[in-house]
């Protein structure tokens, strides 16, 4: 770098620019060389130094070289001057106090006649304004002049960018610039400028209808263009517009939908985003249908893109836009059958979520689940296992809606289920258990009916569904007396609703099922025994456990059943047998409705006595460190509300898993493992996080509280949801007030302190308050008044002073926050004061202080400085109010 030969020097500088960074230790040694070359008479040497400085400038370098850069800012050679202007950006960034020195010259350059210089300055301001637009509002008139006068496309684009940042801050400014921007948009031949105008109008001037209309018409042109780049940008502009002006998107529906099949993936993704923006309650069915068809045809990547956005849109805000849940559930089923579908987890989550939240959708849900379960081909597809898991759970949980119980049982026990991972297989087995309980219950019920009416006819069997709930209620009440059972209040309150659902669907759902005869029942039990028998040797504990449970139950029931049948016992006696009691009890247990659980639910659970949550379990982690925790997505069995403590030991044994009895010595983890019910995978945007079920104390008030709360919320959501023009009533979707909404991450980046000081410094300059760096002892109000006075005097030569004062007064409120800015100013000043003491000593008198200051600092440029800079700054600052009004 210090070589006298230019070629060597250029190589050296070049290498420095490419390899040095802030932490390079030798950086300190370059200062003098840079200084020498910056003031070199050879413009190319100066240019080299500037070039390198723009890459390597640190706080120290920026501080030390500010005077040189300052003098280059007014260099006679455009070649050097424009580079000096550009380097200022980096210098300001590193060393904000340089603003005090260089800013005025920078602004002067804005009025330069050379387009290259103006381009460079505007570029710098564009960068500065993108970081902190508010500070540059006072310069708006300058930019406006450039906007109107300039013919250079590059400069126009940059000025438009600046205005896009400034306009939202100052409505009067926005009003003023709409017309010129529209004019440029109309006449310009450059697509880039036109697009920039469109974007500026759509992002920052959205309230000005004439401008928006013109912009949208231009967007339409872009969308129909041959060039894929323009089409892509057109779509992007539309998605900017979509937030405020959805009509713009709807107007251009056709090209947007056409773009979905474009060969360019960028365009496809962008148009997909737009299509999703168009989705509303009224058209969600059609749009989703179209999209799923597109997904069928497109490549795997885009297919999943489509599916995930459909899923996300439909489930947004607790299925806000879905009215017809039967349709939506079928759609989920269809999606599953798309060959490239990779959305298993999301579909799984939604299937279960809908099951719990939307009662009216359950019938359809079970049908979809049956179709999925029954198809042996699906079992081979690994990515669908999660969905099948949900389907199995749904089928078991809402078994009362199932059409053909035997068919379902076969599906759950089909041999290909051995392709499933163990955790899902456990869910299958548990669902089979639920189905079995329901079958047995129906069988008993039907016998009872037969007892009453004499002769068992298929007609009665057909209607058993509608009778069942009533009977169940009776039974549960009798059981309550006999066995001292405490039923969850929800259990009884919800029966009537269930009942109505039942009656509505009884014809379609239940009558399809074949009659449950004694033979078929025994056959079913045999089959279960046969299929699950081998599983008692299964490796996986979950599967093993469940298989053993169900087998034990089957053997118990079978023995009784056969006994009863052979002895031809009276039906009434049969009711008293242990088996029927067990079955009824189990049925009642499973029939309990499961609701969504709020995120904060666990917080409301009272801590049971003797459980020390604060106990330090660190030692445990050392021991259990390598034990894999059960995956939280595995479905456990049993229900949170099921904590009926039964006295019958046999039942207690059978249900040791489901019942809420928790050994208090076990840790919470253990508890979670055992009762890991509905611990759905917690996803980022999950609407409800299914946290722990209200733990192990069913009688604590949390349960009833929750139920009451749910009921209340359901009403509330009904009120909110009701739309006057809705033809079909939307089913109730259970919502929780807390925990439904996942707080948005705060995306607003806090401005860095450096930026603060930078903007503070710029504000100072623009307010002309740099004049008194040594006056930090005077209070702000004093200062501002003296500031005004000073301005007045300085301008007296140009403008009549009265007018000046008025303008000065108006100016104050239009600025962001005079108080804070002056505080800022003090702060910055103080810091700077320490460093610059030597340079700025001996000033303090308002009037000529500015001139003095700069002359003190840069004696060399004294004369030029005196000549124009103060006048310039003053003459532009008061223009603001004039312009804005």
């Amino acid at each position: 770098m210090s070589s006298s030969r230019f070629s060597h020097k250029s190589v050296g500088y070049h290498a420095a620019a490419l390899s040095f960074h802030d932490a390079t230790p030798v950086l300190l040694l370059t200062t003098n060389q840079l200084r020498k070359d910056l003031s070199s008479p050879n413009p190319f040497e100066a240019s080299l130094a500037l070039q390198t400085l723009s890459h390597i400038a640190t706080v120290d370098l920026a501080r030390d070289l500010t005077p040189e850069i300052f003098s280059l800012l007014s260099s006679g050679r455009v070649f050097v001057r424009k580079k000096a202007i550009a380097v200022v950006l980096r210098v300001f960034d590193k060393y904000p106090d340089a603003v005090r020195v260089c800013f005025k010259r920078l602004v002067e350059n804005l009025e330069n006649s050379d387009p290259q210089i103006v381009s460079a300055v505007v570029g710098v301001f564009c960068e500065l304004a993108s970081r902190d637009p508010r500070s540059y509002l006072p310069l708006a008139p300058e930019f406006y002049r450039v906007l109107v006068d300039c013919k250079n496309n590059w400069v126009l684009i940059k000025v438009l960018k600046i205005f896009a940042k400034l306009a939202p801050l100052e409505p009067r400014l926005a009003k003023r610039i709409v017309e010129p921007i529209c004019e440029i948009m109309r006449v310009t031949g450059a697509k880039s400028v036109m697009f920039e105008c469109v974007r500026t109008v759509l992002t920052s001037l959205g309230d000005h209808d004439s401008g928006v209309k013109l912009a949208v018409s231009k967007v339409k042109e872009l969308l129909l263009d041959e060039d894929p780049n323009l089409r892509y940008l057109g779509l992007q502009a539309l998605s900017v517009a979509a937030e405020k002006h959805l009509w713009a998107v709807l107007e251009n529906k056709e090209p947007v939908i056409k773009s979905l099949s474009d060969e360019d993936s960028n365009i496809r993704v962008e148009s997909l985003r737009l299509v999703m923006a168009m989705v509303s309650e009224s058209n969600v069915t059609e749009i989703s249908g179209v999209l799923v068809n597109y997904a069928l045809k497109s490549d795997p990547l885009f297919c999943n893109e489509i599916l995930s956005s459909v899923l996300a849109t439909c489930s947004r805000n607790v299925y806000e836009i879905v009215v017809d849940f039967d349709w939506y559930v079928s759609l989920l089923g269809e999606m599953t059958r798309i060959p490239n579908c990779q959305q298993g987890e999301e579909i799984e989550r939604q299937l279960i979520d809908i099951g719990m939240r939307v009662k009216d959708a359950r019938l359809q849900l079970v049908r979809v689940a049956r179709d999925l379960l029954i198809d042996p081909a699906l079992l081979g597809n690994v990515s669908l296992h999660r969905i099948l898991c949900a389907a199995a759970w749904v089928a078991g949980e809402y078994i009362e809606f199932a059409g053909n119980l035997f068919e379902l049982m076969d599906a759950l026990l089909q041999p290909r289920t051995n392709l499933l991972p163990a955790s899902i297989r456990a869910v299958y087995i548990h669902s089979a258990f639920k189905v079995l309980i329901f079958c047995l219950d129906c069988y008993l019920m039907q016998n009872e009916d037969g007892n009453l009416v004499v002769g068992q006819s298929d007609l009665f069997i057909g209607k058993r569904g509608s009778v069942a709930p009533e009977l169940a209620t009776c039974q549960s009440s009798t059981l309550e007396q006999h066995e001292d059972l405490t039923f969850n209040p929800r259990n009884t309150t919800e029966y009537p609703e269930d009942h109505t659902v039942f009656e509505n669907n009884a014809d379609t759902a239940v009558t399809q099922g074949p009659a449950i005869t004694y033979e078929s029942m025994v056959g079913l039990l045999d089959r279960i025994e046969l299929i699950l028998g081998p599983l008692t040797a299964n490796q996986d504990v979950e599967v093993l456990d469940r298989a053993c449970n169900i087998l034990a139950f089957v053997r118990l029931v079978k023995a009784e059943l056969i006994d009863n049948a052979t002895q031809e016992v009276n039906m009434a006696d049969k009711k008293d047998t242990q088996v029927s009691a067990i079955i009824t009890l189990m049925r009642d247990a499973f029939v309990t409705d499961l609701g969504p659980i709020s995120v904060s639910a666990q917080g409301r659970v009272a801590v049971p006595d003797g459980l020390d949550l604060k106990e330090n379990l660190d030692d445990l982690s050392a021991i259990c460190g390598d034990i894999e925790l059960p995956s939280s997505s595995a479905f456990g069995i049993g229900g949170p509300q099921f904590g009926t403590s039964s006295d019958t030991t046999s039942i207690g044994l059978l249900k040791s898993e489901e019942s809420g009895l928790v050994n208090e010595a076990t840790s919470l983890l253990e508890h979670r493992k055992r009762h890991g019910l509905y611990y759905l995978p917690s996803e980022k945007n999950e609407i409800v996080q299914h946290d722990y079920p209200p733990a192990n104390d069913p009688r604590s008030n949390s349960n009833s509280d929750e139920a009451a709360e749910l009921a209340k919320l359901t009403e509330k959501s009904l009120i909110l949801k009701k739309k006057p023009n809705q033809t079909k009533p939307r089913p109730v979707v259970v919502k929780l007030d807390d925990g439904d909404v996942v707080p948005l991450p705060i995306s607003i980046k806090k401005p860095e302190s450096r930026d603060d000081s930078l903007s503070g410094a710029i504000k100072d300059i623009l307010l002309g308050s740099t004049t008194k760096p040594s006056s930090s002892q005077s209070n702000p109000s004093d200062k501002s008044s003296s500031k005004r006075k000073e301005k007045k005097k300085l301008v007296a030569a140009d403008i009549p002073s009265q007018m000046k004062e008025n303008l000065g007064d108006i100016e104050a409120p239009s600025l962001e926050n005079p108080g804070s800015s002056s505080k800022d100013h003090d702060h910055v000043k103080e810091r700077r004061h320490r460093g610059k003491e030597k340079i700025v000593e001996g000033e303090g008198h308002d009037q000529k202080a500015r001139k003095k200051k700069s002359s003190h600092r840069h004696g060399k440029h004294k004369t030029r400085q005196k000549g124009n800079s103060p006048l310039n700054v003053v003459s532009q600052t008061p223009e603001i109010p004039d312009f804005l009004l």
Binding site: R5, S10, F44, K82, S119, R231, V269
Partner: protein, 166 residues
């Protein structure tokens, strides 16, 4: 501002890289690899934009142009116009073409510093300073002349220095 300028061939070999913000070399290489893997999977006659946020962080856009065996890639943020950047690539390539008369990949390999000189005239510290290829040519020729002058008295043989300044 412009964040980075990359020129790489269709084999993924970088021919010129310039990052206007500090990036550690490893990250640069990783970014180049990522960019290439995206670019080579794109068909001809599709749009020249690539979603770059996954590679270069938030608020970054990428445009590229494919000429013969080379990809010219510009990465920039929201304060630049996409179409203008495409034009700028055009300007850059035109200038190279003028400079080397029918530019090809080999010219770029052997005239590394001249490439940088041209690029530095166009983009300075991430900002576009010059967009007219004649102006750029003028400046670059001056620089070349200066370098030749300073080299005239050195020990490098005439033929080599001639070759270098071609």
């Amino acid at each position: 501002m412009i964040r980075s300028v990359l020129v790489m061939n269709t084999q993924g070999k970088p021919r010129l890289t310039k990052f206007y913000e500090f990036w550690p070399v490893e990250k640069q290489q990783e970014a180049i690899r990522n960019v290439f893997s995206v670019l080579c999977s794109r068909a001809e006659h599709v749009s020249n934009f690539v979603d770059a946020e996954s590679i270069f962080g938030p608020d970054s856009r990428l445009v590229y142009k494919h000429f013969a065996t080379l990809y010219f890639v510009f990465v920039f943020d929201s304060s630049e116009n996409e179409l203008a950047m495409l034009d700028l690539i055009q300007v850059f390539v035109e200038t190279l073409d003028k400079c080397f008369r029918n530019v090809c990949e080999l010219d770029i390999v052997f005239n590394y510093s001249k490439m940088h000189a041209i690029l530095d005239e166009i983009i300075f510290g991430g900002q576009v300073l010059e967009t007219s290829s004649t102006e750029i040519m003028k400046a670059v020729e001056e620089i070349t002349k200066l370098e030749a002058q300073s080299n005239a008295i050195n020990l490098v043989s005439k033929s080599v220095s001639n070759w270098r300044s071609r």
